[in-house]
Symmetry: C2
Subunit: 673 residues, 2 copies
Amino acid sequence: MRLCEKAILQGFLITSTDLLMGTHRITFLPHQRTIDVEDGERLLRAAMLGGVHINASCGGEGFCGKCRVLVEEGAVEAGVSEQLCAEDIEQGYRLACLATVREDATIRVPLESSIDRSVVAAQVQPRRTASIRQMDFEALKEQGLFSPPVEKAYLELPPPDAQNNMPDVTRLIECLKLQADEHKLELTMGVIRKLPKILRDSDFKVTINMVRPVRQDGKTIITDVQPGDTRAENYAIALDIGTTTIYAQLIDLISGATIAEAGDFNGQISYGEDVISRIIFAEKPGGLDTLQKAVVGTINKVLGALFTNSDIDKQYVSTITMAGNTTMTQLLLAIDPRYLRRAPYVPASTLYPPLDATALGLDLGEHVIALLFPVVSSYVGGDIVAGIMGTGLYREEPLTLFLDIGTNAEIVIGNKDWLACTACSAGPAFEGGGIEFGMRAARGAIEDISFDPASYEPMLLTIGDVRPKGICGSGLIATVAVMFEMGMINNRGKFNRDLPTARIRETGGVWEFVLVWAEQSAINRDITLSEIDVDNLIRAKGAVYSGCLTLLEEVGLGMEMVERIILAGGFGSYIDLEKAMTIGLLPEIDPERVIFVGNGSLMGARMSALTNRMRRDVVQVNKMMTNFELSETPSYMDHYVAAMFIPHTEIEKFPGVKARLQARETERQSTGN
Amino acid sequence: MRLCEKAILQGFLITSTDLLMGTHRITFLPHQRTIDVEDGERLLRAAMLGGVHINASCGGEGFCGKCRVLVEEGAVEAGVSEQLCAEDIEQGYRLACLATVREDATIRVPLESSIDRSVVAAQVQPRRTASIRQMDFEALKEQGLFSPPVEKAYLELPPPDAQNNMPDVTRLIECLKLQADEHKLELTMGVIRKLPKILRDSDFKVTINMVRPVRQDGKTIITDVQPGDTRAENYAIALDIGTTTIYAQLIDLISGATIAEAGDFNGQISYGEDVISRIIFAEKPGGLDTLQKAVVGTINKVLGALFTNSDIDKQYVSTITMAGNTTMTQLLLAIDPRYLRRAPYVPASTLYPPLDATALGLDLGEHVIALLFPVVSSYVGGDIVAGIMGTGLYREEPLTLFLDIGTNAEIVIGNKDWLACTACSAGPAFEGGGIEFGMRAARGAIEDISFDPASYEPMLLTIGDVRPKGICGSGLIATVAVMFEMGMINNRGKFNRDLPTARIRETGGVWEFVLVWAEQSAINRDITLSEIDVDNLIRAKGAVYSGCLTLLEEVGLGMEMVERIILAGGFGSYIDLEKAMTIGLLPEIDPERVIFVGNGSLMGARMSALTNRMRRDVVQVNKMMTNFELSETPSYMDHYVAAMFIPHTEIEKFPGVKARLQARETERQSTGN
C-alpha cells in the first residue's frame, strides 16, 4: 500500500501488477511453504518470515556454515563462503545467511540444516530410569513444607452499610485479620482497581491470592481477587529456560501433581546457537530486545500448549517459577549481557525481585508473579542453583559432585555444609558442534555403536531407528570408547592405520573413519569420524575432568573422596556411564553411586512452586556457593594437559579401563589378532 | 485520506475538492481559531478539537446551560434547551453541548462561558497574609526531621577483577554496607538493568537514589543510579490535584526551598465541573480512561512549566508527592469511582502503595516514585489529610476546627489526641454555581461591595479591577452581609421592596437587585442578584455551619469550645471573616484565632516531600480520624433548618452581629432614615 499511496500522490493510476513489482516468490522444501519477499531480502530472513527453521548458529555472518541450503530452481545472489567447497557450490548449495533474494526461487533446506522438533515435544527422559532422583514430594508434605509461594483464601465479607462504610481495601484486610489471622498485608494496584466491582458482583464473597514473603517477618502481598470460591483451582508453571530448549510444567498447587508438560526450541537459536553468539547478537543495535522477545515468544508458545493440553483456565495460574543460566536469565530480563563474556566476567545481579509476569511479556494473567532462581556467577547460573535445590543435595551429608555437561560444563561439589562451584568451556563437541557430522541428540543421530573385531564393520543404533544423519554427543563418546578398547585408536586419538579396512582413509591430509557410506546415510554423503573430531572430543572430556579435579583440589579434596555423582542436563541423561569412564570424561566410580536427574533446572523450578521454603533456602544456598574461576587457578592447565589422553596420562586413575585393556591385549596375543 | 483510499479501491480518480466534501469550517471568536470538522460533529467537541475552552459543567447534556455560545455567522443544528430564554435564542445563542455542525459557521464564545486562565498562572494567595500558617521548616530541621523520602548517596566502588568478580548488584550492596552502614536494601529492575553500563562508564563512581521505608524496619529501595556525584541535585515535586485546579511546586531537597511553582485548570473540567458529574462521566464507556488521561495531561503541562521556569533537569527529580480529594485520587489511579456517589459511599482504599510515576503516565524519569496522601472516606480525601498534616494541627494541643469550603465543605475537628471529620454538600454557590451571575474568583468578578445608604447605589471592587462580569463566592458573601446589615434584605433573604431604588425589581416573578447595569458590565447584560441567589447562599452557609455544629455535638462539644479555626482552600483564602460571620457561615470567634492556610493540600504535599516522618505519621492520623456521615446523624437536619436565617434563628449565637444591628437600628431611628 505504500507504493500505492505514493502513486496517488503523484497522480498516477496504477495496476495490480505494479503493486507486486519488487517482490519475489520463494518456496521452501521439504516444507512446501511459499512466501513473497521484497527484492534484496536476505534468504535467512525470508525463511524466518515464512516460519521455516534453518539452523543458523553463528548469528548470520557465514562463519559456522550450518545454514547450507540447496537452490533447486531459480537463483539467489551470493551466499558463498569458504564453508562451502567447490563441489557444494557447483551442486547449488549456498549459505542462507549470506544469500540475497533477487528472483523467484525454490530452496531445499537439507536435513542437517533444520532442527528436528520431534524430540522436544516430550521431555527428555534420562537413560537410566532406575537412578532418577528428585526431592521427595511426599516427604515435603510430611515435613509440613508443602506451602506454595502463592496461596488462596476464601472470604465472606460483611457488606457495607451506612454504619460501616469503611473502604473496600480496609474491609478486606480487617476480614483477613479476623477470619484468617493474616497480618502484614499489602495489595497491588491491580487488585485495588478491580476489588470494588468484584466485591459487589459476587455478593462480597471472594477468593484472594496471597504471595507469601521470603522472610517470615515480610509482607504478604495480595495479587488477585476472584469472585466466589476458587480455592480448588490454584496452579503454577515451572519453567526451564535453556539455551537450546524451553521446557514447562503445569502444576496443580492443591494436589502437587504435574498435570501437563510442553517444550520447544528456544526461538533465540535463530540468532546464535550458544550463549556467546547470543551475547554478541545482543550487543548489536536492537539485538537485546530481539532476543528478549524471541525467548518470550517461545515461552508463550509453550504456555499455550500447556493450557491446550490441560484444559486449565490460565486465570487460575498464580505464579511462574523459572530457572535459566546467567545469560538466559539476563536476556529474559532485558539486561545487557555484554559483561558476562568479558573478563572478569561479572553478572548484573544474583538475586532478582519477584516480577510481574506480564511486564516481561508473558501471556499470563496480570496478577501472576514470576519468581526466578538466582545465579552465582557468569557461568554458574540459575539452572545449576535450581538443580542443587531440586535434588536436595544442599540438605544432605554425602560429598557430591554435581555435573551439568554441555558446551559449558558446570561443576558443583559439596554437601549440606558447604558448596563450591565452577564452570569450564567444554566446547560444542558434546552437543555435536565442531564435529564434522556432529548433531544434536535427535532422530537419525548415531547413539551407540559396535565393531566387528575382524572386519571392523560397524553396527549402529540411531535415535528413532532411522537412517543415520550424523552422530550425537553420547554416540561420539560410545564410538571413541569402543574404538579405543578395540585398539582402533590409540590413547592419543590416532587411528590404527594398519587395520584391514577401507573405512580408515586419509582425505585432504586428515585421517578419518567412515561410519556410514553415503548410500546408507540419510544425507547422501559418507558420515565419517576424523582424527580432528576425536581430538575435539578429547579436549572436551579433558576440560570437564580437569575442571572437576581442580575444583576438588581448591577445596583440599581429591577425586577419590567423591561419594556420589549427580548428572544433570539433557546430555548427562544420555551418557553411557561405563563408556564415559573409558574415555576419561568421568572418574571411575561405582555406577550405583551415580544419579541421573534429567532436567535439574525444571526440577528445581517445580520444587520452588511447591514450597515457599525453597525461596528462603535459595538465599542461603546462593551465599554458601563459593565460585572458583578456573582461569585464575594455575593448576587447571596442568590437569588439562594431563587429561589429553584416553582415558588419562595416568592410566592408574582408571584401574577398570587399565584392566580391560590388559585383558584385551592378553586375548589378542593369545588369538594372534 | 480515508475517503481517498476508498476512491482508489473503487478505481476513481479524485480531486482535492472531493476530499473536503463533508467537512465544515468553524471559526471561534474571540480566539480567531479555525478548524475543519466533519459534518454532524457536536459543536462542543469541535471546540475541544480546536483547543478552544468552553465551560461545560454538566458533562454535555444541556443541564447546566454554561456552554452558551453566540452563532455570529452561518448556523448550527439544534442547541436549544430551557436553559436559554426566547430572547437568547432569537439573538443567536445556543448551547454548544447540544449543537451540531452542519455548515461553515463563526461562533463567539462569550466571556462567561470561557474560563479566565490568568488567575491560575500564579498560586492563589490567601487574603489575610498576616495569619498564614504552615509547618515550620526551620523547626523541622532543628528537630532532625528534615529527611526527604528519597535520599542520595555517592559511592566509589572497587572495580571488579579476577579475584573479586562478584555481581554488580552485590558489589553495590556490599559497598553501601561498608561505606554508608546501609542495610535491608532492594534494587528495582530499572536500576539492575542500567547499573552495569553506568558503573563502567563512570569508573565505578556513582550516586544512588534511596527511597526510605515508612517503617524503620522496612526496606530501603534503590530506585536510580546516576554516573558521578549528583548529590547536589535532588528535587521533589509537590502536587495538589484539585477538582478545578492543579498546582505544583518544585522543591530543592538539599535546601528545602521551593524553587518553582505552576498551576493550571484540571483538564477534566471539560467533562464536568464537579466531582459528581466527573463520576457520572467516568461511568460511561471509556470515560474513566478519558478522565485519567485528562488529569495526567494537565499534570504533565504543569510539570513542563516547572522545568521550563526553573531550568532544572527532570532526571534529578526523585519523587512526586501528591494529594487530592477521594474522587481525584481514584480518577488519577484509574479506579472506578462509581461507588463514591452511591450509598453507603465507599472508597476503594485509604492508603495506596508507592507507585511508579511513569506507570501513571506522568512525564518524569522512570525511577520517580509517586507518594499519595491517603483518603479517609468518599468525601474526606487526601487533600484534607494533607491539610491536617501540613498545618501541623495533628501535633498540637488547641481544639481546632479545620474547614475547607467549596462545593463540598470538609470539616475536621480535633487536636493531637483525636480527630473527627465529616463533609457536607454546600452546593456550588461559593464557587459561583447556581447563582445567575455567579462565577469563579477570576478577573471581572465582583469581590467586594458597599452601598450608598441613601441612594443604595453600589460601589464595586472587581478582581483585576476590570469591568464586572459576574460575582464570585466571596463577593456574594460580602454583598449579602452588607445588604443585611443595611436592612436591604431581611433575615430570610428577602429584599426590602420599599427602598427608593430602581435596582430592586421583579422579573418573571422573581425579585432581584441590579448590581451592574448592562452598559457598565463586561457582558452587556444587567448583572443582578436575585432572591433565589440569596436563598442558595443561605442554604450553602447553613449547610456548613450546621455541619460544624453537628460534628462538634457528635463528639460531645459545643461551638463555643473551639479554640481556633483553620481555613484552607482557594475559597477560604478569599473570605472576609467579619462578613462570613455576619451571614452565619462561620461562628463568631476572635478573628485573631482564625488562620488562613491557603492551599492546605499543596502544603501537605510539600511537607511530605521534605520529611519522611510525614509518611509514618499519616498512617497514624489516618487511623485517628473518625469519619461521621451527616446523613446518618438526625440532628443535622434540625441544625440545618435553624441555620436557614441570616445569621441564624438564634441571633444570640452571633452577639457581634446582634450588637451591630441594634446600633444601626438606633442610628436609623435617630436620623429618621
